[in-house]
């Protein structure tokens, strides 16, 4: 409240107090003068009321007591006595002192105040003695807000009395007030309006059905009608509770709504239902219900339908359950679409029709978006798998008498659901290996100055169209000599073979290799790592080992995001097209006849000073036609090795929808599937790691 208003009140109060003094003295002369008594009462009343409004709460509370007494005097319950006049005059002086005090003058004297009040109270008849208390418990006509946060839908029937206009009420402004509370639909019921001749123009014949969805609660709705409580018939029902109780999925039938509202009897509803037509039409035709009421019920039905739909949309933002085979079908269809789109692009490129070209481009853009979205739907965070591993690590370390903590990182990284499922077993193997072979026993660790507790860190991170999953332990690291010795013992390499570190590490993926001194129940009998490698390659992924003695080992698994559609490189040998996963391709270089001759028949190319072995696919696939004079080497990175694959031509990048080869060709090595090209022909998808593996095996055998 501004000072300006306070100041105005004070001026007024001083005036009133002066007047009060005069009136009281007058009253002493003529104790029965009702006019003077009224004046005293009004002065007190104004000081109290205005005092409270402008923040003079002490004055308001004190004056209230005096006013209460004078109310009784006014009603003839108490006579004006000398004592009353004295007390009131004393009270008047106290009020003035309080006014002065608000400016810093005057002194508060609570004991004296209490004395005056006690004296005044003695004058009151017994029954009223206890009633006078504090002056302000304001009742507010403002809407009170409930605590409830949920949106609840109410059906309100507001039927004003016919002479509602006569006390200045405009029902429409109440409707407007309701509209401000929430989502509101209002239907005026006009059926009671009589013909002109019978109309009382100043009466209200209309009533309203209101459907309101709001979070403010029923009390706030009642507050809207606070002034007309006694001048209307108000019915408020909850028809939708914001989903807390909505078990029935269906909206109420029109007939049910009408019966609930009392506009139709249930037997009439049955009669109408027995006819096979739209309920509303029959209800009106048969004259059982006024059209207005049907209209209003229809509005309710619509309103509830809409808010429920809205709620459903909101719910679905959090999650939606769909059987995964539905998603598979979607992805398949998208795959088909991608194929057809490729044909469209190719055909339009040949036609040189600008309009067709622009359509094809648009379709391409949309297809790519659709593809990404469809594949995205299948994506799940890898985190659930991670938490399973935590349990595994805990159980294993107990079993082996080791102290191991597992930390994870990137649990939110998303991967195709199928990939996650198929990744589970290989990862379990790798983690087991880290725990069994990697992390030392606590005593050994302590003696080498490491903390007793070992750590296995599992992390996942996106990298291009792949996900990198790393398993990192702070254990002993791989023992190169032991691996080498074992490999020689198993006849995997010759004793004199010159092997790089990476080559030695990759030996542990060879079938039948195990370095564990002790065969434990955990790492089994050395069937682990080669199985892991196979499983990961089946997912078109690759695996990579890094290790430092005494520091630890890091195994990195690179997995493509999805199995259904891949970005790939389309190449050509003779008249056949092949597809290589782009994620494995590093670069393409030319291979001339001169280069081949320089290498003296060995399949080795010199790429910027680096020796890169290559596999001539023409030879390998026994393609008869002659090679062009300049061939292309597609250099790939597989399991830490750079290996080239020689093809005739590199056509370019291609979005490849993977089709399986079917049962008959399932076991064909070196091919992971097929795809359909834009012109309708089939291209085989090369299984690069498998090709490399089989070539290595042949060489070793030779």
């Amino acid at each position: 409240m501004s000072d300006q208003h306070r100041q105005a009140f004070k001026e007024e109060a001083y005036e009133l107090l002066a007047e009060l003094e005069t009136s009281l003295l007058e009253l002493e002369e003529a104790p029965d003068d009702m006019e003077v008594i009224g004046r005293v009462f009004r002065a007190m009343h104004t000081i109290k009321g205005s005092g409270a409004m402008f923040g003079f709460d002490d004055i308001a509370a004190f004056t209230h007591e005096v006013e209460t007494v004078f109310d009784q005097v006014r009603n003839g319950k108490i006579a004006v006595t000398k004592n009353l006049i004295n007390l009131t005059l004393a009270a008047r002086d106290r009020i003035k002192a309080m006014l002065d005090a608000s400016d810093g003058g005057g002194v508060a004297d609570e004991a004296y105040d209490a004395e005056i009040i006690a004296g005044l109270k003695k004058l009151l008849p017994e029954t009223d003695g206890g009633k006078s208390g504090t002056a302000s418990v304001p009742e507010s006509p403002l809407p009170a807000t409930d605590l409830s946060q949920d949106d609840v839908t109410y059906r309100i029937r507001f039927t004003p009395v016919s002479d509602i206009f006569l006390n200045g009420t405009n029902p429409v402004s109440l409707l407007n007030e309701l509209r401000q509370l929430g989502n509101c639909r209002i239907v005026a019921q006009t059926c009671a309006i009589p013909k002109l001749a019978d109309l009382e123009p100043e009466s209200c014949y209309v009533y309203w059905d209101i459907i309101l969805t709001t979070s403010v609660g029923k009390n706030a709705i009642m507050d809207v009608f606070i002034f007309v409580e006694d001048d209307c018939d108000l019915k408020i029902d909850v028809i939708d509770d914001g989903g807390r109780l909505d078990t029935e999925a269906n909206y109420k039938k029109l007939g049910e709504i009408l019966v609930e509202r009392g506009d139709l009897t249930s037997s009439s509803m049955g009669a109408i239902l027995s006819q096979q037509k739209r309920f509303g039409e029959i209800a009106i035709e048969s004259g059982l219900v006024e059209p207005d009421k049907v209209q209003s019920a229809l509005v309710e039905q619509q309103h509830v339908k809409e808010i429920r739909q809205e709620r459903q949309t909101q719910d679905s933002v959090s999650s939606i359950r769909v059987p995964s085979d539905k998603l598979d079908i979607l992805v398949n269809l998208v795959g088909e679409l991608v194929t057809v789109q490729a044909r469209l692009s190719e055909t339009s490129a040949g036609r040189k029709d600008p309009e067709l070209l622009s359509i094809a481009e648009e379709v391409e853009r949309l297809t790519t978006e659709l593809r990404d979205n469809a594949l995205n739907i299948r994506m799940l965070p890898i985190g659930t798998t991670f938490s399973k591993f935590k349990r595994l690590v805990r159980d294993l370390s107990l079993e082996l008498g080791k102290e191991i903590e597992m930390t994870t990182d990137g649990a939110e990284t998303e991967l195709d659901k199928t990939v996650i499922e198929r990744l589970n077993d290989p990862l379990v193997h790798l983690i087991r290996n880290s725990i069994d072979h990697g992390i030392e026993s606590p005593d050994v660790r302590e003696s080498t100055g490491k903390p007793r507790q070992g750590t296995v860190h599992l992390s996942a991170v996106h990298s291009g169209d792949s996900v990198l999953i790393t398993i990192n332990d702070d254990g002993a690291g791989l023992n190169k000599e032991a691996i080498r010795a074992k490999a020689v013992e198993k006849g995997l390499v010759t004793a004199t073979a010159e092997l790089s570190e990476k080559e030695i590490f990759s030996l542990i993926f060879a079938p039948g290799f195990s370095t564990a001194q002790k065969v434990t129940s955990v790492s089994g009998r050395g069937v682990g790592m080669d199985v892991v490698k196979q499983a990961i390659e089946l997912l078109r992924g690759s695996i990579n080992i890094n290790s430092q003695p005494g520091v630890g080992t890091t195994i990195t698994v690179r997995i493509p995001l999805t199995l259904a559609i891949i970005e790939s490189l389309l190449v050509k040998i003779g008249s056949d097209c092949f597809v290589m996963p782009l994620s494995l391709v590093e670069e393409c270089v030319e291979l001339t006849n001169a280069d081949v001759q320089k290498a003296h028949g060995r399949h080795i190319a010199n790429v910027r000073g680096q020796i890169v072995p290559y596999i001539p696919l023409r030879e390998r696939f026994r393609i008869k036609e002659n090679a062009p004079s300049i061939e292309q080497i597609v250099i790939t990175q597989v399991n830490n090795q750079r290996v080239g694959f020689v093809v005739d031509h590199v056509i370019g990048e291609h979005q490849t929808v993977i089709k399986s080869l079917g049962r008959a060709y399932r076991d064909v090595k070196g091919l992971s599937g097929a795809t359909i090209l834009g012109d309708g022909s089939v291209a085989l998808i090369l299984d690069i790691p498998q090709l490399l593996h089989s070539v290595e095996m042949e060489e070793r055998a030779a």
Partner: protein
């Protein structure tokens, strides 16, 4: 504040038609006056056209009158049309009172209810 007037006129060449044109506030303040004017016009016409184009304010009593006149018309088999309902004032008032609807009342056999469709 626009003065309230209600004028009755007879279009040329249509002796059985009366046009009643209201200007100013079509509110409860003038409800009795409007009712009398409507009754008088109905008494001498086969076709009554109510022009609301110059109305500056409607309230519920005003709109009740329109409904009531409409009802009177079809019970006496007379024609009743309402013009000038395109104004923002009219549309806003009808919406505020919750009058727009999809089906007219039971008596609206000729489907001429002015609240059906259109207003929104």
């Amino acid at each position: 504040m626009a003065d309230f007037t209600i004028k009755r006129s007879k279009p040329k060449g249509a002796s059985k038609t009366r046009v009643l044109s209201v200007s100013g506030e079509m509110t409860i303040q003038h409800a009795n006056e409007i009712k009398s004017a409507l009754l008088a016009a109905f008494a001498e016409a086969e076709h009554l056209s109510l022009d609301l184009g110059k109305v500056t304010e409607f309230d519920l009593a005003g709109m009740q009158l329109i409904c009531s006149a409409h009802r009177a018309a079809y019970t006496t088999k007379k024609e009743f049309t309402v013009t000038g309902t395109g104004s923002e004032v009219f549309k806003a008032a009808a919406l505020a009172a919750g009058l727009p609807r999809h089906i007219g009342c039971a008596e609206d056999v000729n489907k001429t209810c002015i609240w059906v469709g259109g207003v929104e």
